[in-house]
């Protein structure tokens, strides 16, 4: 559970929708704003978005699920994306990922039970020249190795 996130309520969701709906093609901006607020797209927001944009909740669901970065539930406090595209795999990304999961104590991609870290695969970060690549909390990391990522995470988790 993430203690740092607000519980979604329809009033706030409506306000977020209202702030973006004037834009051309407002659905993605609305979803981004919700993702920023809650670190996921609450299911309760779907009918509200649908109503505001003359869509249906199925359509909104289709869009939300198409993008992996729109989450159904909040991720951990820190997110590691490990590139598993062809170039990175050829430079040992799979082994690197497996070691990282071992280090963190995860069985597979996912979130640690304490909610501190989420590790997920990504298919190409566009950093093939520096493969294997990863991304930690939005910052790209070339020639990534698992101890370095673990160290970054430990630093980020440490009380300031």
């Amino acid at each position: 559970m993430r203690q740092d996130l607000a519980t979604p309520d329809s009033e706030t969701i409506r306000a977020i929708i209202a702030a973006e709906r004037h834009r051309e093609g407002p659905l993605l901006p609305i979803l981004h704003a919700l993702q920023a607020e809650y670190d996921h797209i609450p299911e309760s927001a779907l009918p509200l978005i649908a109503e505001a944009l003359a869509l249906t909740r199925a359509e909104v669901h289709g869009v939300v699920t198409f993008y992996h970065d729109f989450r159904e539930a909040p991720a951990g406090r820190h997110v590691v994306k490990v590139c598993r595209a062809e170039a990175c795999q050829s430079m040992g990304a799979n082994d690197m990922a497996a070691r990282l999961l071992d280090l963190l104590g995860l069985d597979g991609y996912g979130t640690l039970p304490d909610g501190s870290v989420t590790v997920e695969p990504v298919y190409c970060l566009g950093l093939c020249a520096c493969a294997p690549a990863a991304m930690v909390d939005g910052t790209l990391l070339g020639r990534a190795d698992s101890p370095a990522i673990a160290a970054k995470l430990a630093k980020a988790e440490a009380p300031a």
């Binding site: 299911e43 869509l55 909740r57 199925a58 359509e59 669901h61 699920t65």
Partner: protein, 974 residues
């Protein structure tokens, strides 16, 4: 059904037929083919009889180009384009089969099959599966891929590639990609394991039905069809169970439960749906005489291959155990029923009727024809009273629904029917929907309207309630004028006031087509300030500015069409509103071409036909008054009887006369007047005072509680005949199976007439249609042979219009000049006051139909198990009413109880309910006020009070006791 056993005209052509007059000629496999411009290569090939393999294409939806199976080679073009998304061009040379194409298609097919369970022999779609067909067509003989990640195996054992870190399978037992079958919908199942993600269902829901309840969730290999959001099931989603997705699905992923249970049908009969006035054509698909499923017929001109939950799925009532299959009689209504032979029942009835006629005179008998039965049956029933009982005491349920339409349009345009065909809506730019709820009442028409709204047509809804049409997804603009019930005339006049005073009227049209003097008179009247939106706002509750905007939109918006329903007619000023609507259409020049017109949405399958067939007491077939001696002469010569020149009794007059003791015998075919007519107590008193009530129906309906004779009826699946829909289209009804009760309804009426000594000798309904055509000018050229050839025809169909008449009043009004009639608003006498401060209005819901006699006997009750009272949060809070609470609904006429639901769809001061369930008997509450011209009851306005309650009212308890008592049936004598 499997394409290769279908006749070529029923083939799936892959993509829709484009609307174009220009043609293009190309060569396909060396054959010359000429098709309309815009046709896909795939469709052009089909036209030439050359089938190209396909999975994601079907001719009910636009081409999508995702399956890559329909690849072709085109001379001079690189690669292998998809034939479904490639339009034809002049001189194009297409090759549909080559080694290269064969290899590509086989490769694609192999990929599909690598994620598909190969349980064909036990699959619900076995024998009716396009994936199976295509595997055969491309010659797939082997799948080289080893078993890996898949969507079909419930357990993952052995199916996951080793070390695949993507698969979140901690213990290796469950396949996280496997989604179990969803059978929450009562009529069809969704089995994701069989899905090939062709998106046909999603596109059908969007393009054909317009509900957008389905989507593809995820991406890539994760893509799945999803009903609604993450936690929705099929049932909890927005799905309205129209069946379009099931129709479109090429595999067993979306499959009718009846097919899973009974097997693939092996023959089919084209017939017409017996629910609403849209009159959809269906294929009844059977195994032997067992009906397996009903599928919409794509050549049906009313529905164009679409259907709704009622027509497609809710046919189970026809074989419901409640159906009565043997005639029954009793001496008085407090006795139990006795099952008897047909002969005994008919003799009993004839003796009673003759006795009544001797004692009370020939005017003491009458009939009520059915809007549910065929034209031929209705014709016979009115003939029974006119030729055998020798009076004009015939009426029909149209009395209580669209009689003001007949009167109003007859007066203004000269004919008593809608002016357009349903296809016309494709050219509409701005549409007024007034007092109608098409998504629930006429769903297939609503889908066609919604399609046009998505294309940019503007919507104006005049309704006390925020109907679902206003929530149409992807609609651009809409106006909602939420008027107070009972103020239609004021709103329609205010619209006309704006059009006239702002100079928006189409003067050229009016001068050319209408009576100019009458228009001047009307214009003077409507210009008066008291008709302005500002002046009527207090009365109607519609903000003046909104009304002005709507009026301007309608007058300036291009082709303007008006569709209306019972919310217009079922008022004390129903006829006036119909005339006001006709005025609006004439004012704006919106008559006589495609995309415009005045269109009553008629309630029942054959309400148009039952009116056409002379069901009204003052009119012989074809709307010709009985006082007219030349018309009487036609029937007098043919029937060899004297026809009464005086109009007979209307339904309310029959009941009044019964209470007074002068009307004693009534033959009611396929109507439940006790439940459907207003002021239930009065109806009950009238029926109880009669000496011989004959109910001819499928079920022991509520009216039968007061009957002495019950003659079992036959369902629409069990007879030959014709229905006429709201667009005047005469559609054939065909016998799908033999009557379970032994006789089709027309035969029963004939038996009854002959028991009275009539000597009728019809052996087939075609002969009855011959008699109708010979005596009724609008039907002069209609024959069964013609209907067989054309499929359907719209009346008038005679020497002037041998092909029928899709559009009325094209070159001039039927009555000559269009007539403007002054529409003075007179408030109804039914008024709110301190004791009854709320206005009740009534309506319909999608899954139930009319009194519910049919739909309540199907699984449709999953969606609507009881009638609910919609009440605004303010009114609910004032009265301490919670969501779902039992409430007492009382009017000056009576009271009943039901549950409340709180919603702001209704305005404060307005409550709304349906009347589908006899337990509620909403018509106990409605009054006996009625339309000034036609007696159509004022169902739509009743002053009521709502209060919390503990349970059923005294009336409901008495009623249920009486009904239980009355429905007892003695076992047949040994």
């Amino acid at each position: 059904m499997k394409d290769f056993i279908l006749p070529p005209k029923d083939w799936d052509m892959g993509t829709p037929l484009p609307k174009s007059d220009a043609t293009v000629t190309l060569k396909i496999d060396g054959f010359d083919v000429t098709v309309p411009e815009g046709t896909s290569v795939m469709r052009a090939a089909m036209e030439a009889g050359i089938k190209i393999p396909k999975l994601c294409a079907t001719d009910s939806v636009e081409a999508f180009g995702s399956c890559r199976l329909c690849l072709v080679e085109i001379e001079g073009r690189r690669g292998t384009p998809a034939s479904c998304t490639t339009p034809v061009t002049d001189g194009m040379a297409v090759t549909t089969q080559s080694d290269r194409l064969h290899k590509l298609r086989k490769g694609v097919m192999e990929l599909y099959i690598s994620d598909h369970p190969l349980d064909c022999l036990t699959c619900g779609a076995n024998g009716d599966c396009e994936l199976q067909d295509m595997a055969g067509m491309v010659g797939l003989r082997d799948v080289r891929y080893t078993k890996g990640d898949n969507h079909y195996a419930p357990t993952a054992a052995g199916s996951l590639s080793l070390n695949d870190i993507r698969a979140k399978v901690p213990d290796g037992s469950d396949n996280a990609r496997y989604i179990p079958k969803d059978d929450s919908n009562p009529y069809f199942t969704y089995d994701p394991s069989k899905c090939i993600v062709c998106s046909r269902c999603v596109r059908a829901c969007e393009e054909v039905q317009g509900t957008f309840a389905l989507t593809i969730e995820g991406r890539g290999f994760d893509s799945r069809v999803s009903f609604g959001g993450a936690s929705d099931s099929v049932l909890s989603s927005d799905c309205v169970s129209c069946g379009a997705c099931v129709q479109a699905c090429p595999t067993a992923t979306l499959q009718e439960k009846s097919v899973i249970e009974m097997g693939t049908p092996d023959r089919s009969v084209i017939t017409t749906c017996a629910y609403c006035g849209v009159g959809c054509s269906f294929k009844a698909e059977l195994n032997g005489d067992k009906l397996v499923r009903m599928t919409p017929y794509k050549h049906g001109k009313a529905n164009r291959g679409h259907s709704c939950v009622k027509g497609r799925f809710a046919y189970g009532y026809a074989s419901h155990p409640d159906r009565i299959l043997n005639p029954m009689i009793r001496d008085s209504i407090d006795e139990p029923w006795r099952e008897v032979t047909w002969q005994e029942a008919l003799e009993f009835t004839a003796t009673r009727l003759k006795g009544i006629r001797e004692t009370y005179g020939r005017k003491s008998l009458g009939v009520i024809t059915s809007s549910r039965c065929t034209n031929e049956e209705t014709y016979l029933v009115q003939k029974l009273t006119r030729a055998v009982f020798e009076n004009n005491n015939t009426d029909t349920c149209a009395r209580v629904c669209h009689s003001p339409t007949g009167y109003g349009l007859g007066q203004t345009f000269g004919t008593s029917a809608g002016t357009q065909d349903f296809d016309s809506v494709e050219d509409t730019d701005v549409v007024i929907v007034i007092g109608a709820n098409p998504t629930d009442g006429h769903p297939v028409f609503a889908s066609r309207l919604k399609k046009r709204l998505r294309e940019g047509a503007e919507l104006i809804v005049i309704d006390p309630r925020r109907i679902d049409l206003l929530a149409t997804p992807h609609m651009s603009g809409s106006h909602h004028l939420p008027l107070r019930p009972g103020t239609n005339v004021a709103v329609v006049s205010a619209l006309a006031h704006v059009i006239v005073t702002e100079g928006l009227a189409d003067e050229a049209f009016i001068r050319e087509r209408c009576d100019w003097d009458e228009f001047q008179h009307y214009a003077e009247f409507i210009r008066e300030d008291r008709h302005s939106p500002e002046a009527t706002e207090m009365l109607t509750g519609v903000p003046a500015q909104k009304l002005r905007e709507a009026a301007r939109a309608f007058a300036k918006g291009g082709n303007g069409a008006i569709y209306y329903g019972l919310g217009v007619t079922e008022h004390s000023q129903g006829s006036t509103t119909v005339m006001g609507i006709a005025n609006l259409a004439m004012l704006t020049g919106n008559i006589g071409r495609r995309g415009v017109g005045v269109n009553p949405l008629r309630g029942q399958n054959n309400v148009q036909g039952s009116c056409d067939m002379g069901s009204f007491p003052h009119e012989l077939p074809g709307y010709r008054h009985v006082k007219n001696p030349e018309v009487r002469a036609i029937y007098e010569d043919l029937w060899k009887v004297k026809i009464d020149p005086e109009p007979g009794l209307r339904i309310p007059n029959m009941l009044d006369a019964a209470v007074e003791g002068t009307f004693k015998g009534l033959y009611v075919q396929g109507e439940d007047i006790l439940q459907s007519d207003p002021d239930t107590k009065h109806v009950a008193a009238g029926l109880a005072a009669m000496e011989c009530v004959i109910v001819h129906d499928l079920f022991l309906n509520e009216t039968a509680n007061y009957a002495h004779v019950f003659l079992p009826g036959s369902s629409f699946l069990e007879k030959e005949g014709t229905f006429t829909n709201a667009e005047r289209r005469i559609n054939r009804v065909r016998e799908v199976m033999k009557p379970m009760n032994g006789y089709a309804d027309w035969e029963v009426t004939q038996l009854l007439a002959n028991a009275m000594g009539a000597g009728w000798h019809y052996t087939h309904p075609a002969q009855i249609m011959e008699e109708i055509a010979a005596t009724t000018p609008a039907f002069a050229n209609v024959t069964y042979d013609m209907l067989e050839e054309k499929g359907s025809v719209q009346w008038p169909c005679n020497d002037d219009a041998p092909e029928g008449t899709p559009l009325m009043h094209v070159d001039g009004f039927v009555r000559g000049q269009g007539r403007f009639i002054v529409t003075e608003y007179v408030a109804t006498d039914e008024k709110t006051g301190p004791r009854f401060p709320l206005l009740l209005t009534t309506g319909r819901i999608l899954s139930q139909y009319n009194v519910g006699a049919q739909t309540r006997r199907t699984e449709n009750s999953v969606w609507h198990g009881e009638d609910l009272l919609e009440i605004h949060p303010h009114d609910a809070e004032n009265r301490g009413i919670q969501e779902g609470a039992w409430i007492r609904l009382a009017s000056r006429s009576g009271e009943t109880t039901l549950r409340a639901t709180i919603t702001d769809r209704v305005s404060p001061g307005v409550v709304y309910t349906t009347f589908h369930h006899p337990d509620t008997q909403a018509n106990v509450v409605t009054t006996d006020y009625s339309d000034w011209a036609t007696n159509c009851p004022e169902y739509k306005v009743t002053a009521v009070q709502v209060a919390p309650s503990n349970g059923p009212s005294e009336w409901q308890e008495d009623y249920n006791a009486q009904a239980a008592q009355s429905r007892r049936i003695l076992p047949a004598a040994e």
